[in-house]
């Protein structure tokens, strides 16, 4: 399973994940306090510099991750041209780019395992509710492991459909796929219990 963490080692990779997340929370709150285009433009420029400081490959990957923003840029852009308030529109778009850019930067420079360790630390207060760190870790591992297994099962079921019908499978295939997921869950539960339980 590929993660979004950049394989290009940068200066931000060794920083503790908790520190980066705390900085991100403060910075994002700050971005929402800014109401004019100029400081937000500077924030965007600073974010861009952080990316460029990590090399060209890292920066182009980061740029590609901003692609999901385009529908919002089009909608907000057209809206504020229509209402003749380009300054407000620029504020919204610049804030969006800075906030998403910073968040993606943290994701790209933090390993999945480090990030999950922070989540487990944050979930400690939930222990009395039955959510022990061990169970959380087990659930994460099971989910990650079963994504490729279920993709494989999905393609097997599609193939057996295609072998019997000339029509496309469509939504009907979801019934056996869901049943397969339920069966896998039962078998995994038995296997866990046989190995000492989920703790």
């Amino acid at each position: 399973m590929l993660t979004l963490t950049s394989p290009v080692e940068t200066w931000a990779h060794p920083l503790p994940a908790g520190l980066k997340l705390a900085f991100l929370a403060v910075a994002t709150t700050g971005l929402f306090a800014l109401k004019t285009p100029l400081p937000l433009g500077l924030a965007c420029a600073a974010t861009a510099l952080a990316y460029l400081g990590c090399g060209r490959l890292f920066a182009t990957t980061g740029l590609r991750l901003l692609w999901p923003l385009w529908p919002f840029v089009v909608i907000v852009g057209l809206w504020h041209l229509w209402t003749a308030s380009p300054a407000t529109g620029a504020t919204i778009i610049l804030r969006m780019f800075a906030a998403v850019g910073l968040a993606n930067f943290v994701t790209m420079t933090t390993r999945l395992s480090d990030m999950l360790a922070v989540f487990q630390w944050l979930a400690r207060p939930l222990r009395p509710l039955g959510l022990s760190p061990r169970r959380l870790a087990l659930a994460c591992a099971l989910m990650v492991r079963f994504i490729p297994v279920m993709l494989e099962r999905f393609s097997q079921i599609s193939q057996s459909w295609s072998a019997r019908s000339s029509r496309r499978p469509g939504w009907r295939i979801l019934v056996p796929v869901t049943l397969a997921a339920l069966d896998d869950a039962d078998r995994a539960a038995e296997a866990l219990r046989a190995r000492g339980g989920a703790g």
């Binding site: 989540f119 169970r135 869950a185 339980g197």
Partner: protein, 180 residues
């Protein structure tokens, strides 16, 4: 205990693979992503509590950096997008759908479609609208207009969720944990 845990983990994986399969495979040309269908199925099959936990587990791994949202999106950045309201609404919608499934006495199929309309369209749209209104600095009415763009695809998905749940109920009644 172990069964609860594995059901939550496997349905979180199901939401993920529904986001990975190509859009057109599901609805014969109508471009819809199946991810929110996964949210609906979590509620209709697993019930309120387990369904919501499965969605939360899925979102946690997305936030941690797995590109599992439809279109291969992921990371903390997706929680800074204007569509963040939908992500916040996902576990609440799954909980509401499961809660309704557990309480109605309707047949499984219609109950699932109805619960998905209330939870997966009604409640989810409220959160989506609030999110866009805050992130894009728009009034609620303006944001609601933008949220309306998702309605046709969502209606199709609630019907599919109903058919799938009915299929499960017919083939193996015990598999619907929301009705157990």
């Amino acid at each position: 205990m172990e069964r609860n845990l594995t059901h939550i983990a496997l349905f979180a994986a199901l939401i993920a693979i529904l986001g990975l399969i190509p859009k057109v495979d599901l609805a014969g040309g109508v471009p819809i992503t199946a991810q929110s269908l996964g949210i609906m199925l979590c509620g209709t099959v697993l019930g309120a509590k387990r369904g919501a936990l499965a969605v939360l587990l899925f979102l946690a791994l997305v936030a941690a950096g797995l590109p599992l949202l439809s279109g291969g999106r992921g990371g903390i950045g997706v929680f800074a997008l204007p569509s963040v309201g939908y992500l916040v609404g996902f576990p609440i919608a799954a909980f509401a759908i499961g809660w309704l499934m557990e309480r109605t006495t309707l047949a499984a199929g219609p109950a699932a479609t109805l619960a998905s309309i209330i939870g997966g369209i009604g409640i989810l749209s409220i959160f989506g609208t609030l999110g866009m209104s805050v992130m894009l600095d728009k009034s609620l009415a303006e944001a609601a207009f933008l949220a309306g763009a998702f309605l046709p695809g969502d209606l199709i998905k609630t019907v599919i969720a109903g058919f799938v749940t009915q299929g499960l109920a017919r083939m193996r009644p015990a598999s619907l944990l929301s009705r157990a």
